[in-house]
Amino acid sequence: MPAVFHRVDSLLTLIAAKAAIQVLRSWTGRSLMIVLALALAPPLFAAATPDLEEQTRELAAELRCVVCQNLSVADSPSEMAQQMRAVVREQLEAGKTPEQVKEFFVSKYGDWVLLRPRMTGFSALLWVLPYVVLILGVITALWFIRRWVAAKKSHGPVAGPSASAQMRSEFFKENFARPDPEDSSPRASLLRERARLQDELNELDFDFQSGKLSDSDHIALKQEIEAKTVAVIEQIHALPPKAPAKPAPTEKSARGTDTAAGADRSRLRRWQLVTGAVFLVVFGLALGVMLTQSVRPRLSERDTMTGDFLTGTRSTNSTVNAALAEGKTAFAHREFPKAIEAFKKVLTADPDNPEAHSYMGYILLQAGHGDGALMAFDKALSQAPNLPMALWGKGMVLYQDKQDFAAARGIFEKLLSLVPPGEERNEIAKVLAEIPAGGAQKRTTAAPSSSRQISGRITIDAKLKAKVEPDATLFIIARPAGAAAGPPLAVKKVDRPSFPLDYTLGQDNVMMQGTPFTGKISVTVRLDNDGNPVTRGPGDLTGDYKKNPVEVGAKHVDIVIDQLTQ
């Protein structure tokens, strides 16, 4: 494929080519290729008869796409929909009727795949109910309307006005202000009624002018409304003369000559002050408490000051985080049983936690369970495909344990691309360079390469020759350079040594299976009397390699036993 893009016709091709290469490399490039595969694979659409296309499309519009949400197979851009369309076309071409094709899909996906529900069975309700409701609704409405019209008729015509025509016209000229909507006094409601009747009259006139009413209707209705208006006005006049209008007291407009109102107001204002003060105090307290609790020193440059309190961590989250932290510290101290327990706790709460899986992988690796470690790293990577720690672990497993160099290289290269430049990156690059070129090798039990061991000679100082116990055990101990305490990197035990002793200390002497025997180490030797390497009783003889630390691979690491433990 690269050859295609080496054709340099124009700048545009080059640019497009570069972009395309980038795309190809990336994950999206693969989806592009899939689109390609499916765009080219089916026969050219233009070749099919339009009738078939129409039919396919119509049928596809009735089928539901199984991966998209609520799109039809015709509208959906997804791959599965294209495949389904191809199946539809094929079956139509083979002569099946649309019904048969639909039944085929129903036999595979159930009734769910039909966008138009069946008209038989339970779904028949769906087709019938809307019309039933509509018809029932219309019938009910008509029934009510008839009842209301009958009610009107039974109430009889409104009585003719009692006042004379002249008084009536005066009534109409009388100017009534529209009352305040708040006012609920009887006078106000009568005024509102009068206003409403006036509006009705206007509307009536308008309708008549627009030609919607016949003359007879117009006159009849107008008389009715006028009669009602007169009745209302008479009622208004019949009311006791109203007290001088007191506007509804608002909080702002009540200007106090009224001492009661004034006292009320001052009480109100006090209440407002108290409420405001309470709010302020609560706000301040809350702010103070929560801020101090949640602010913490930055742990790193990328960290922020705001913490976990109140801002989102719930109990499950915090136990997970706590257990995770516990496991990490235990792992750092090489307290593996404790670490395993902590990570198991994490995994019960959060079964997919990639960090926990990665750490478990490392622990399994230390214990020599390469397969288990690989499974754990894979689980971690299935959740977080770019987690550097899991990638590193998996790489190491493939490299060290499975000796699958090609795969390991791939993983390390990926890791290299993810990690920013720095110390870690150099480390990865170093390991990457170390991997021998070539394909995967079967796991051999051949002798480890000479670069992974040290060799030398152990002798006993003349002064201490007499102190050697006959059944003492010799321990050759290699520790990582600079690590004075903690378990050693490699230990070799020799029973009943005879001196001078030529020894080699290599990969198969490492304490934790899988730990690479590389780098700088410091070598010591102990002639232990009780055979227990942990205890150092008096009478034990020890010796250090004088030129510690030494690089693994060195030869002539000669040690003289010249110290006596008191």
Partner: protein
């Protein structure tokens, strides 16, 4: 810091909401008026605190503070700043905060405007606001917290869902949420009136105006959503009958019904229980909609990732439904009415029919949306209810609605004389029949589109005829010419003419839907370089592909030249966008619109090996542009309706 601040603000707002709930109750129990002011201060307090919280989250988004989980999951460093802001409502937690923010803005405005009025019901209105606000704040504060922190702090975020990286993201959700939240206002008034048993006229005016505003936002939000779907998403359609889309549309139906039947209540003082039910229903449907989107019980392309909040939304929905309808049932006796009508042929009857049809449509859509659940629960069978069903069943209902839209304005209130009716309807009916015949002869041979177009022309003709008659009346009375007459008519009968303009807008939308549903053509082909595809009156020539790296994705664009009836009309560039986080590429379709039809191009696929091959899907959709024009006409009509006018004695309210 930002996270702590935001979260504290939300918690305190929640406490304020609790105060706002408690205070009217305490006032009622103790009889002391001072508690009532606490309700208002509680609202203002929530307003400030929620503003603070929203500001904190926006700040965190803009500053790419990845220590906050929400920011890390919804933006990257490369996301442009305006998409970072829209990230506020890009995912579940933020969208709840947006809802709450808009709610408290509406509540605050209501509290401020009515601070001196409606003294007896305002505290209870504010209490209802506080109840809804307390629920959302509680969910935000304790269940799905947008201010949750993440540790260790990632270097870069995951980024917004690529489908949401679009300009419409800035308009569609806020408009739609404003529509939903706007329905809370009439609901609060209705509930307050029921609680205090103050069921007389005063609150109706307030409710009506707020409902119009909410209805407008709802319409606009749905239309912008349809536009987004059509313009950007690249499947050539504008409405998929997706459950969440249905849930956004369902509150619109009772709101529209309410806007009509409230006129009957104003004039005849009947249908009070019915109107209250409509408002409660509309509000409950908005809560149902938000429940459906966030609970994951029905699979939808719009659904947010379901968290634990679904159960709480269901609980709240239960509380609202049972509480509101229970209270209504309890107080129904107090809504004294003596319903009577003058005649069976009157505008009142037409409005009643209108309500029946709208509620039937609501029932149909609701049934279709939840039917998969019903079928699984009762029959144990998994079914899907998709677009073919909804299209089949709702079309007759909506055609009936269109017919009523034509009939309604022509009938008089109270009593319409039959011979006047005959006269008024004769001309529009004849005219529409003539148009129908012409259409049939020309092109439209199928029954449903023909019926649809005929009815639409009927409505337009009735509106024109009605206005012409009124103008003639104005000329007779005041000697005004056409334009002067129109202005006076609009001024004097604001609601009526605003309503007629809105009807015109609806007609245009239905025109667009009818055209595109009935006469769309679709063709797909794999084209080599310079090869052409024929579709309808168009020829589309493939000119080449080009790949380019964009900040957030890799883009492959195809160049196509379009010919219409032989004449070159320009070049279109549909594209495929490859996002690193997406499994399949996201299509970016383009279309060229004219008044009569759109040509719509989708790049379905291409060959990687051979840059000279592409798979193109072309659609011709007639009359789609009228949908968007209709939207603007509706906006104009709404403005006419609610434009504040001086109330003279002779004008209608």
């Amino acid at each position: 810091m930002t996270a702590t601040l935001g979260h504290i603000a939300v918690v305190l707002a929640f406490l304020a909401a609790l105060c706002g709930i408690a205070s009217p109750v305490m006032a009622a129990c103790s009889g002391q008026a001072r508690y009532l002011t606490i309700a208002r201060y509680a609202i203002f307090g929530q307003f400030i605190l929620v503003l603070l919280a929203a500001g904190a989250l926006i700040y965190a988004l803009v500053a790419t503070d990845f220590s906050i989980k929400y920011v890390a999951f919804n933006t990257t460093r490369a996301t442009p700043i305006y998409y970072r802001v829209t990230g506020l409502w890009g995912a579940l937690e933020g969208s709840l905060l947006l809802w709450e923010w808009i709610l408290i803005i509406f509540a605050g405005v209501t509290a401020w405007i009515y601070r001196g009025h409606h003294k007896e019901i305002m505290p209870w209105t504010l209490m209802i606001f506080s109840i809804v606000s307390a629920f959302f704040l509680g969910v935000i504060a304790f269940l799905s917290n947008p201010f949750e922190t993440i540790s260790p702090v990632p270097l870069d975020g995951r980024g917004l869902n690529p489908l949401l990286e679009d300009a419409n993201m800035m308009t569609h959700p806020p408009l739609l949420y404003a529509g939903f939240v706007g329905l809370t206002v009439p609901y609060a008034f209705a509930m307050a009136a029921l609680i205090t048993a103050k069921l007389d006229e005063a609150w109706i005016t307030s409710m009506r105006r707020w409902t119009i505003i909410a209805w407008f936002f709802l319409t606009a939000g749905n239309l912008v959503g349809a536009w987004w779907s059509y313009h950007v998403l690249g499947w050539g359609g504008y409405w998929a009958w997706d459950p969440v889309e249905n849930a956004a549309f369902m509150p619109w139906l009772p709101a529209t019904a309410f806007l009509h039947s409230i006129q009957v209540q104003e004039r005849r003082r009947m249908l009070k229980v019915w109107n209250l039910s409509l408002i409660i229903l509309a509000f409950s449907l908005t809560i149902f909609g938000t429940f459906l989107t966030r609970s994951g019980i029905i699979s939808s392309i719009h659904a947010f990732s379901s968290g634990p909040v679904g159960g709480f939304f269901l609980g709240f929905l239960a509380f609202i439904l049972l509480g509101s309808f229970g209270l209504l049932a309890y107080r129904a006796d107090m809504l004294k009415e003596q319903p009577e009508l003058d005649s069976m042929v009157s505008r009142e009857s037409a409005f009643l029919l209108n309500n029946i049809v709208l509620v039937s449509a609501l029932f149909t859509i609701f049934l279709g949306t939840v039917f998969p659940l019903i079928s699984e629960a009762i029959a144990g069978v998994q079914v899907s209810v998709g677009a073919p069903y909804f299209n089949s069943v709702t079309v007759p209902l909506f055609l009936f609605m269109v017919f009523l839209m034509g009939v309604g304005p022509m009938i008089a209130w109270r009593r319409a004389s039959l011979d006047n009716l005959r006269r008024n309807f004769l001309w529009p009916a004849l005219g529409s029949l003539v148009i129908g015949v012409v259409l049939f002869v020309w092109k439209v041979k199928e029954f449903l589109p023909l019926l649809g177009f005929t009815l639409l022309s009927f409505v337009v003709l009735t509106i024109v005829y009605d206005t012409a008659l009124a103008l003639r009346a104005r000329k007779c009375i005041a000697g005004e010419g056409i334009f002067r007459g129109l202005v006076t008519l609009a001024r004097r009968n604001q609601r009526r003419y605003g309503g007629l303009v809105v009807h015109l807008g609806v007609v245009l939308i239905v025109l667009g839907i009818a055209g595109s549903m009935s006469y769309s053509i679709e063709r797909e082909a794999t084209l080599a370089l310079n090869q052409e595809l024929n579709i309808g009156n168009y020829r589309v020539q493939f000119l080449g592909l080009e790949g380019s790296q964009q900040p957030t994705h890799f883009r492959v664009e195809g160049t196509f030249r379009v010919f219409h009836n032989g004449a070159e009309k320009g070049v279109l560039n549909p594209a495929l966008k490859f996002f690193p986080t997406q499994q399949s590429p996201i299509g970016r379709a383009v279309h060229r619109s004219t008044l009569s039809e759109d040509i719509y191009l989708i790049l379905s696929g291409f060959s990687e090996l051979d840059r000279n091959q592409a798979t193109l899907k072309a659609l011709v959709r007639p009359l789609v542009i009228w949908m968007w024009i209709g939207g603007f006409v509706i906006a104009l009509g709404t403005i006419i309706c609610i434009w504040p006018m001086k109330k003279t004695e002779l004008a209608e309210t």
